[in-house]
């Protein structure tokens, strides 16, 4: 018997852990989540709590049932539940959120082998499944005061809905001018999924993750930049007439670019691969928004690029030291 522990080198480790990373990602989502509660009220809070509880509980039950080590409290299931709720309407019935959470954890994550082995972002698949199952409920938004001056009416359309159905001018008049439109989009006082509205708070959380090194700034910058560029080029009145600023702040782009397109598990590992991923996700988003049937395409664009990730990884392997070629 040895008096000392024997193991392969190295014998010291960095302090970073998976729960450490995951809980900090949760923390980065908190400002936008808190804003949602203030802006959309109690239903938003209920949906987020239900999303988290069902995600964590289904992971716990699955792992116990499968006799696996329980990692349900490592923060990753919590992110899935929270992101799922945040990417859907605040007035969605809570039982649907619960079903989405269970689907995301059991089908997308655990049945693929658990954390690290899922190909698709669990929250996004959960959302896509609900979209297919309850299309009406999934596109029913909060009723809120129409902001156009002098009109005392209620509207339940998101800015992207208005753009898709009534055009850009209607969008401007709804918000009472371009400056008002930008301001409300930036602060988050607009209709939409409950956690996606506040550009400024999502940016804040994103910057924290970049500062922590969990997110490479390249991914959100390239994805959002691609959306801005393409929406400007393919504007409503011909080339170079679009409103990139609106498109960059609209829909779930901020939430998706900072928190979904940066989900380590489902995106490429090298910077080169991540750039390809971000360009693809941005381009598909624009394609859906401008040409497709849905007003918003962030969720599907990221899912499609998730599917390409193994392929991208294969073709963007780093150059091995001493292999010749570019240094």
């Amino acid at each position: 018997m040895s008096e000392y522990t024997i193991s392969s080198s190295p014998h010291i480790r960095d302090g970073e852990t998976i729960p450490g990373i995951m809980w900090r990602v949760n923390a980065a989502l908190l400002p936008a989540a808190a804003f949602a509660v203030w802006w959309f009220g109690v239903p938003a809070l209920i949906n987020m709590v239900v999303g988290v509880i069902f995600a964590v509980a289904s992971e716990y039950i699955w792992q116990r049932a499968m006799h696996q080590p329980v990692t349900a409290f490592d923060g990753s299931a919590c992110i899935t539940g929270l992101l799922l709720a945040m990417s859907m309407s605040p007035v969605l019935p809570p039982y649907m959120v619960a079903i989405g959470s269970v689907l995301a954890i059991v089908v997308v994550k655990q049945s693929m082998g658990g954390l690290g082995f899922n190909i698709f972002n669990p929250a996004h698949i959960g959302r896509a499944a609900l979209m297919v199952s309850w299309p009406v409920a999934m596109t029913t938004w909060t009723k809120m005061q129409d902001m156009s001056a002098g009109v005392d009416a209620m509207t339940s359309a998101t800015p992207l809905n208005i753009l898709k159905l009534q055009g850009y001018d209607a969008l401007l008049s709804t918000f009472g001018g371009q400056a008002n439109l930008y301001w409300n989009m930036f602060i988050g006082t607009r209709n939409g999924s409950l956690g996606e509205t506040s550009t400024v708070l999502l940016l804040l959380g994103g910057l924290y993750l970049i500062g922590k090194g969990y997110v490479n700034w390249v991914v959100p910058v390239v994805m959002i930049g691609t959306v801005g560029l393409l929406t400007f080029v393919f504007g409503p009145a011909g080339f170079f007439t679009g409103d990139p600023l609106f498109h960059m702040m609209a829909g779930g782009l901020m939430l998706g670019a900072f928190f979904m397109a940066t989900d380590m598990v489902t995106i490429p590992m090298t910077v080169k691969g991540q750039v390809i991923f971000a360009i693809g996700a941005g381009a598909i988003t624009v394609l859906i928004r401008l040409v497709g049937g849905y007003p918003e395409g962030v969720c599907y664009s990221i899912l499609l690029m998730n599917a390409l990730t193994p392929l991208i990884d294969r073709f963007t392997k780093p150059r091995i030291f001493g292999a010749g070629g570019d240094k």
């Binding site: 000392y4 522990t5 080198s9 010291i12 690290g116 598990v265 590992m269």
Partner: protein
């Protein structure tokens, strides 16, 4: 100017424990255990037997193989036993056990005084070979073989990076004996006929940089400041940083015209050439948070770890791991009965506080290992493929055999995956397969020749 390479990590270096402790001579203990394998290559066979009296520096082990380094008695005394003893690199190994007579009398004619400038290159190489010098940074490649490269070389690189955390032996040597180091470099530069000699030192050792700059003034040896980053002292990284050349995959430094030597080796070479003394002692660091008084020691080859640790005040806390070498690439020991060898750069005793980490989890593909790998590999994929026993994919698609096992990936992994261990496992399988294929081929060829 700070120079660097791609990848790498910044672990806590722990050097503050021993950095300011001057090299202390540890008296030779009563019993010395001298393993017959202290180098890469064929083990030596003892050329003494139990009962023989030996003098310090007397040849006690040698081999007819080309790839070996002779082994000498570290003290004068009596050979009491030749038997299997614990070994820090291979569990156990035949060793010559010597009882120290305390006289420390040198073998005939040693030490001598000679002027290396009057010696021919061949005489110098013979002196290095007969002194049994090996790479003392830990790789233990026989020095005289490295100094006769089969390809033209034009640059000599001296490794003073000492990038392994906790180790400070090279640092103290550079600080305390810069003249000896410089003399060794001059000898090597002449033997190799190189145009350029560069000493690379990390920028966390400014005193050593100053000392060597002073000693090198006006004699054409460069002192280069390197960025403090592990594994700055890896041979391939050093060549890349100091000469901007990349050793090709599977190649050696001489393929790009470079020879790399460790600072400790250079000093030993100076001793061997100028004073004619074989390698019987070395400088090493005894440190770690479990050691009462961390020290840099001049210690005889064959001193047991237990004796060296006792000389440093013993353990102040219960150690979890006892390491031969640094914490990144050193080997965990199962007993403190192992002896100091030519390649022993340090003895570290670390408590649970430093060695403990959570359970291994799934890879979350965070890419930190990809960023940290100085060799441009994808360690996460290698580890997963190795776990699946898909060793062919490791070798063919993910460059398995290029891994230098520096440990950056494993250090940085938030899932605490034992990536290097999986990679070593895969390498073992691939090597075994290659050996089997070779064995199969060899008899077939013979038969073909007969027919």
């Amino acid at each position: 100017m700070f120079r660097s390479f791609l990848g790498g990590i910044h672990p806590h270096d722990g050097k503050e424990l021993a950095k300011d402790k001057p090299i202390q001579v540890m008296p030779a203990p009563k019993e010395l255990v001298v393993p017959m394998s202290q180098h890469i290559g064929a083990p030596c066979t003892p050329c003494v037997k139990a009962g023989d009296l030996v003098k310090r520096g007397q040849l006690i082990g040698t081999s007819p193989a080309f790839m070996h380094a002779d082994i000498h008695a570290p003290v004068s005394g009596k050979v009491i036993r030749i038997e299997e003893r614990p070994h820090s690199g291979r569990i156990s190994c035949p060793a010559v056990v010597i009882e120290n007579d305390g006289e420390d009398s040198w073998a005939d004619g040693l030490p001598l005084e000679r002027d290396w400038r009057a010696m021919t290159n061949e005489e110098i190489l013979n002196a290095i070979q007969s002194a049994g010098i090996v790479g003392m940074g830990g790789a233990t490649f026989p020095a005289h073989i490295k100094l006769k490269p089969s390809k033209p070389v034009d640059i000599l690189i001296l490794n003073g990076a000492e990038c392994e955390p906790y180790l400070t032996a090279d640092y103290r040597l550079m600080l305390e004996s810069p003249a000896q180091v410089v003399e060794g470099i001059q000898i090597l530069a002449r033997v190799l006929g190189v145009k350029r000699s560069v000493i690379g030192i990390e920028d966390n050792k400014p005193e050593a940089i100053d000392a060597l700059k002073k000693a090198c003034a006006g004699i054409g040896i460069e002192v280069a400041t390197l960025k403090t980053k592990y594994p700055q002292g890896a041979e391939k990284m050093l060549i890349k940083v100091l000469a901007d050349r990349e050793v090709p995959m599977g190649g050696l430094p001489m393929d790009v015209g470079a020879v790399v030597q460790n600072i400790g080796t250079v000093a030993a070479i100076a001793d061997a050439v100028v004073r004619g003394v074989p390698l019987t002692e070395r400088i090493m660091t005894v440190s770690g948070d479990a050691i009462a008084e961390p020290k840099n020691l001049r210690v005889r080859i064959g001193t047991k770890y237990s004796a060296a640790i006792a000389f440093c005040g013993g353990f102040k806390e219960e150690p979890d791991k006892l390491l031969a070498g640094g914490p990144m690439m050193g080997m965990a020991q199962f007993t403190d009965e192992v002896p100091v060898m030519k390649g022993s750069s340090g003895i570290l005793a670390l408590t649970r506080r430093l060695t403990e980490h959570g359970p291994e989890m799934n890879c979350i593909r965070c890419g930190r290992c990809v960023k940290a790998c100085p060799m441009g590999l994808v360690p996460s994929m290698l580890s997963i493929l190795s776990q699946r026993q898909d060793f062919a994919a490791c070798r063919d698609s993910y460059g398995l055999m290029n891994c230098v096992e520096c440990g950056c990936c494993t250090y940085i992994c938030p899932a605490k995956r034992n990536i290097v261990q999986y990679i070593r496992n895969a390498k073992g399988f691939v090597r075994a397969e290659m050996a089997r294929a070779k064995a199969k081929e060899a008899p077939a060829k013979k038969e073909g020749a007969k027919a």
